[in-house]
Amino acid sequence: MGLNRDLLGRIYRAEEPFEVTRGKLREFAVALGGELEVDVAPPTFAFVATLRARRLLLDDPALGLSYGRVVHGEEGFAYERPIRVGDLLTATATVASIEERGANEMLRWEEELTDADGQLVCRAAGTAVSRGTAGGAS
């Protein structure tokens, strides 16, 4: 039932870079109730740019995560520079840790976004709480 610890340290890479278009940024800004014209992404946009890599991780059948049991526990971003229109971002996601917390398991992922020059743009990390999957759970 529990999550597969063999995947600790495994790195998942999105097949193709994420292109930051003006239209995508506008959609995202408007969804947050913000302005129409933006060149710079809001800080939580990194969660969108890393989505494909994180999906590969979370949806890996070997991990054993059941989507219906999962809630987002926490999220964080550390920027080297803002994400801007025109960026081509490559995302990786790593299984950083899996810990038991009572009946639940806490999966922590770490992600990196790099630009077309290979320079680091943003580091992100988050946790998913997998409810009721810990070994000791009845």
């Binding site: 947050l32 109730g33 999220e75 971003f77 803002p82």
Partner: protein, 143 residues
């Protein structure tokens, strides 16, 4: 350009409506189509009262308000939070409102650390929410 704030300074508290349309719009804009964010049926099956907002929507709206206060959309150096509880968003004529508050907790050169609170009524939606901003227009004081 705004003068660099001091420890203890507070952003004017801001109320934002988060309706079902906001959540559906965020599904599209973010690519996160987890059915908990659009299907009452699936959400109720999962033991929730109905559709809940994405934690990242709550976090995103809070950052938008913070950046409007700061005046520079690219000012955020870091931003993190825990999600304290699910945020149900019923399809009702009067959408839920959240209250966003922020207080400066540290200043080092032009690097300003802000603690954020996002509440729905008496309930905290985020906990330990913190952002670091590189305050705009402070080139001469940068370390």
């Amino acid at each position: 350009m705004t003068a660099i704030p001091s420890v203890g300074d507070r952003m004017p508290t801001c109320e934002v409506e988060v309706g079902r349309d906001s959540v559906i719009r965020y599904c599209g804009a973010s690519g996160d189509f987890n059915p908990l964010h659009w299907s009452d049926r699936v959400a109720i099956d999962a033991g929730l009262p109905g559709v809940i907002a994405h934690g990242m929507l709550t976090m995103g709206v809070a950052s938008r308000v913070l950046l409007e206060w700061c005046g520079d959309p690219g000012a955020v150096v870091s931003y993190r939070s825990r999600f304290a509880r699910p945020f149900p968003v019923p399809d009702e004529a009067e959408p839920p409102r959240i209250e966003i508050a922020a207080e400066v907790t540290a200043v080092e050169g032009d690097l300003v650390t802000v603690g954020l609170s996002v509440r729905q009524g008496d309930d905290d939606l985020l906990s330990r929410a913190e952002a670091q901003l590189r305050w705009p227009g402070q080139a001469s004081t940068a370390n």
